[in-house]
C-alpha cells in the first residue's frame, strides 16, 4: 500500500525540486499530446523552450520579448505574493492593473501634447495611485466590515473592465481616431513613450521597476520587521496578534502594495508594449500573475524565475503555433499542465510517501 505521511515541516529539498520536476513532467505529457496531434514531440518541446532563446532566425527578437512579457507578470506577482504570505487573497490584480493604466494614461492625456519632462513621472505616480486606490476598496471593506477580499477584489475586476470599455470609447478616446474606440497611441508621443532603456534588450521602465521590486521584496521579507509581521500573520495569525501585529495594518499594507505595483504594471504596459488604452489591452496579466506567484513559491527570486518561465512558454507557444501549425488550444493546455503538475508534485513537499509492503496496517 502507498501511504502519505504528513511531514512535520515542509521539505526544503522538495520545495526546490518540485518546480523542476513539474516542468519535466509537463514536457513529457505535453510531448505526448503534441505527438497525438501529429507534431514531432521533441521538435515541439525544442520550439517552445529553446527556439525563443537560441534560434538564429527568431532569438534576436524573441529574447528581448521575454522581458517585455515577463516584466508585468513579475511586478504584479511580487505584490500579490506579500498578501498571499500574510493570508490575504487578492484575486483582483487584473482590476488594479486596469485602473492603474486608466488613471496614469488619463493623467498624461490631460496634458497632451505637452513635451514636459514631468509628465511621464506624473503618469507613473497616477498609475500607482490608481491601482492602490482600487485595492483599497477590498482592503477597507475587509478591515471595517469583515468582507471577504477574494470576492470583493474579484468582482471589482469586472467593474474595472466596464470602466475600461467606457473610457476607451468615451472619455479617453482618440479625438483623431474617426470614432473608433481606443486612446491616442502613447508611442507616438515622445515625452511619455515607455521605450526601451537600452535598445533591443526589451528592457523598458516597467521591467526595470519589476527588478527593483524583486530586490525590495527580498529585503523586506528577509530583513525588515514589516516583512516578518507579514510572514507571521500568514503562518501563525494568533501568535502575530499576541506579538502586537495589527492585522488591519497588514491588510492595508499588503493590498496597497499589490495594488500600486499592479497599477504601475498597467501604466508601463499602455505607454509601452500595448501603446494605448483600448478595450482589451489588458491581456489577463493580473490573473496569470497569480500563477506566477505560486509557481515562484511566493519567494521574490522564485517569482523572477517563474515569470521568465511563463513568458518563455507564451512566446515559445506562439512560435510552436506558427512553425508547427499546432492549435492555440494545445498551447493553452500545455501551460495549464504546468500548473497542474506543480500543484500535484507539491504533495511531496508536505507529505512523505511510505510504501508498506505486506505490513499490518
Amino acid at each position: 500500500m502507498i501511504r502519505l505521511e504528513k511531514r512535520p515541516q515542509p521539505s526544503r529539498t522538495w520545495t526546490l525540486a518540485s518546480p523542476i520536476l513539474a516542468v519535466l513532467l509537463t514536457m513529457i505529457v505535453g510531448g505526448a499530446l503534441f505527438a497525438a496531434l501529429g507534431a514531432e514531440p521533441l521538435t515541439a518541446i525544442r520550439t517552445i523552450f529553446w527556439d525563443p532563446l537560441f534560434n538564429p532566425q527568431f532569438a534576436s527578437y524573441s529574447r528581448p520579448q521575454l522581458l517585455v512579457k515577463a516584466g508585468p507578470l513579475i511586478l504584479i506577482a511580487i505584490g500579490l505574493s506579500l498578501g498571499f504570505r500574510a493570508g490575504i487573497w487578492n484575486i483582483g490584480a487584473e482590476g488594479q492593473y486596469i485602473m492603474g493604466a486608466i488613471c496614469g494614461a488619463g493623467a498624461g492625456l490631460a496634458f497632451y501634447p505637452s513635451d514636459s519632462a514631468l509628465i511621464f513621472p506624473l503618469m507613473i505616480l497616477a498609475g500607482a495611485l490608481g491601482g492602490w486606490a482600487w485595492a483599497m476598496i477590498p482592503a477597507l471593506l475587509k478591515v471595517r466590515f469583515g468582507t471577504n477580499e477574494i470576492l470583493v477584489s474579484l468582482m471589482l475586476v469586472y467593474v474595472a473592465e466596464s470602466i475600461l470599455a467606457s473610457v476607451a470609447s468615451g472619455l479617453l478616446r482618440n479625438p483623431e481616431g474617426m470614432g473608433f474606440p481606443g486612446s491616442r497611441n502613447f508611442r507616438d508621443w515622445d515625452a511619455v513613450a515607455n521605450t526601451e532603456i537600452i535598445a533591443n534588450t526589451g528592457m523598458h521602465f516597467g521591467v526595470l521597476t519589476a527588478f527593483i521590486a524583486v530586490i525590495a521584496a527580498y529585503v523586506l521579507l528577509a530583513r525588515h520587521i514589516q516583512g516578518f509581521n507579514i510572514r507571521l500573520s500568514g503562518e501563525a495569525p494568533r501568535a502575530a496578534r499576541f506579538s502586537g501585529v495589527n492585522p488591519a495594518a497588514v491588510i492595508v499594507f499588503c493590498l496597497g502594495i499589490a495594488g500600486a505595483l499592479a497599477g504601475l504594471a498597467g501604466l508601463f504596459e499602455v505607454t509601452g508594449p500595448a501603446g494605448q488604452i483600448s478595450i482589451d489591452f489588458n491581456s489577463g496579466y493580473g490573473f496569470t500573475a497569480i500563477i506566477v506567484a505560486f509557481l515562484g513559491r511566493l519567494h521574490p527570486v522564485g517569482i523572477l524565475l517563474a515569470g521568465l518561465l511563463m513568458a518563455l512558454t507564451y512566446i515559445g507557444g506562439e512560435l510552436a503555433q506558427l512553425m508547427l501549425g499546432l492549435p492555440g488550444a494545445a498551447i493553452q493546455l500545455f501551460q495549464g499542465m504546468l500548473l497542474f503538475f506543480l500543484l500535484g508534485v507539491d504533495v511531496f513537499t508536505n507529505y512523505r510517501v511510505r510504501l508498506n509492503l505486506g505490513a499490518t496496517a
Binding site: F58, K69, S166, F180, P181, E269, I279, D280, E318, G328
Partner: protein
C-alpha cells in the same frame, strides 16, 4: 578569349537559374486570427479563404497562421514573428491589429501587409473590408416582416462604426416594413465569447424578442434561440447552416477567398500595391446565405429582390430621408450616404432608443 566568354556565359546561366529558382520558392502567406479557427464565424471564414489560397496555388504557396491572438501588445509580437519567419504577405484579420500592423510594417518594408477593417495605410499596408451593412439591410427586412412581438434583439460587439452601421441598416429596413418594430441592443464588448453571447441572447429573448441579430462570431446565440423556440436568427460571418431552417433563416457570409487569392497572386507577379477596398454584395465579398423555408414565400421574394437591387447598385441601404437619433436631418430625400460618413458613423438613426456607449 573563348574561355572568358564561356565563363561569362556560365555566369549568365547561373544568374538566370538563380532568378528562376527564386520564383520557384513558394510565396509565404501568413494569417493572424482573432478567434479560434473553429469559431464557426469570422475567423472560420478567414481560415476557409486561407485554405482556398492553398488550393488555388498548390505548391507555389505556403501558408501559416496563428489563431486567438489577443489584440494589443501580443499582436505585435505575433505579426513580427510571422514576418521573421519569412512571410511575404501577412493578413491581419481584426480591427484591433491596426496599430500593431502599422508598427511591424515599418520594420519590414519588403513584406506586404493586409489589414482587415482598419483605416491606417502605408506603402506596404493595404486595408480591406466588406460592406456588411448591405447584408444587414436584407436581415432587417426579413426580421421586420417576421417578428410577431415587434421586438428585435441585437447583440452588438464593440461601439465602432462598422457595428453601428449594421444596427442602423438593419433597423431602417425592419422599420420600413414594420413601423412598430423596436430594437433592444446589448453591447457584449467581445467578438467571441460563447458564454457571454448566449447570456445576452437569453436575456433578450426573456424580454420578448423573437428575432436575434448578432454581430459577434460564435454560434452560441443560435443555440440559445433554438433552445427557446419560436425565435429566428441569422448566421453571422459564416452560414451557420447547421441551425437552419430554424432558428437560422438566412445569413451574411463573408467570402474573403477571391480577395486573398487576388492579393497573393499580386505578390507573385510583383504587382502588389497598397490600396483600400470596400467590397459588397456586387463583388461577392458579402454573400447572403440561403433563405430557409421558414420564411414566407412573399418575404423571401422581397428579400431576394432587395439583394438584386443592392448588387446592381440600383439601391443604396442609406437613402434619404433619414434623420439622426436626435431628430436632426442626416440625409435629404433621395440623397445617399457617402462612404466617408459611413466609415466614421458614430450615431444612431431616428427611432433607435438608448445611447451608443461612450
Amino acid at each position: 578569349m573563348y574561355r572568358r566568354t564561356l565563363l561569362a556565359g556560365a555566369a549568365t546561366l547561373a544568374l538566370t537559374a538563380g532568378a528562376a529558382f527564386a520564383q520557384d520558392d513558394p510565396v509565404k502567406a501568413g494569417f493572424i486570427y482573432v478567434g479560434p479557427i473553429g469559431d464557426g464565424g469570422w475567423t472560420y471564414e478567414h481560415n476557409k479563404a486561407r485554405l482556398a489560397v492553398e488550393e488555388e496555388f498548390g505548391d507555389a504557396v505556403e501558408t501559416v497562421y496563428q489563431e486567438s491572438v489577443p489584440e494589443g501588445a501580443d499582436a505585435e509580437r505575433a505579426i513580427t514573428q510571422m514576418a521573421l519567419s519569412g512571410a511575404d504577405i501577412i493578413f491581419t484579420t481584426s480591427f484591433g491589429y491596426m496599430d500593431p500592423t502599422i508598427a511591424v510594417a515599418e520594420k519590414f518594408p519588403d513584406v506586404k501587409f493586409e489589414h482587415a477593417t482598419g483605416y491606417k495605410r502605408a506603402d506596404n499596408v493595404s486595408t480591406y473590408s466588406a460592406r456588411f451593412y448591405e447584408g444587414r439591410a436584407i436581415q432587417g427586412h426579413i426580421a421586420g416582416s417576421m417578428t410577431e412581438t415587434n421586438k428585435i434583439g441585437y447583440i452588438a460587439s464593440f461601439p465602432i462604426p462598422e457595428v453601428i452601421r449594421g444596427i442602423n441598416s438593419a433597423y431602417l429596413h425592419a422599420k420600413r416594413v414594420n413601423p412598430d418594430v423596436e430594437f433592444s441592443i446589448v453591447w457584449a464588448y467581445t467578438w467571441f465569447d460563447p458564454a457571454k453571447e448566449a447570456d445576452a441572447a437569453r436575456a433578450l429573448i426573456e424580454n420578448g424578442a423573437d428575432v436575434i441579430l448578432q454581430h459577434t462570431d460564435s454560434t452560441a446565440p443560435q443555440a440559445a434561440a433554438q433552445e427557446a423556440g419560436n425565435v429566428i436568427t441569422f448566421g453571422q460571418a459564416s452560414d451557420m447552416s447547421e441551425f437552419a431552417p430554424l432558428p437560422r433563416v438566412s445569413s451574411i457570409i463573408d467570402d474573403w477567398a477571391p480577395y486573398y487569392i487576388d492579393r497573393v497572386q499580386a505578390v507573385m507577379d510583383g504587382t502588389w500595391e497598397s490600396q483600400d477596398v470596400w467590397h459588397g454584395i456586387e463583388e461577392g465579398m458579402v454573400g447572403i446565405g440561403e433563405i430557409s423555408d421558414a420564411v414566407p414565400e412573399d418575404v423571401k421574394a422581397e428579400a431576394l429582390e432587395l439583394k438584386a437591387q443592392l448588387a446592381s447598385g440600383e439601391y443604396h441601404p442609406f437613402t434619404g430621408p433619414i434623420n439622426r437619433q436626435d431628430g436632426s436631418v442626416w440625409l435629404e430625400e433621395g440623397e445617399t450616404a457617402t462612404d466617408e460618413t459611413l466609415l466614421g458613423m458614430d450615431f444612431y438613426v431616428e427611432g433607435l432608443t438608448g445611447d451608443i456607449p461612450n
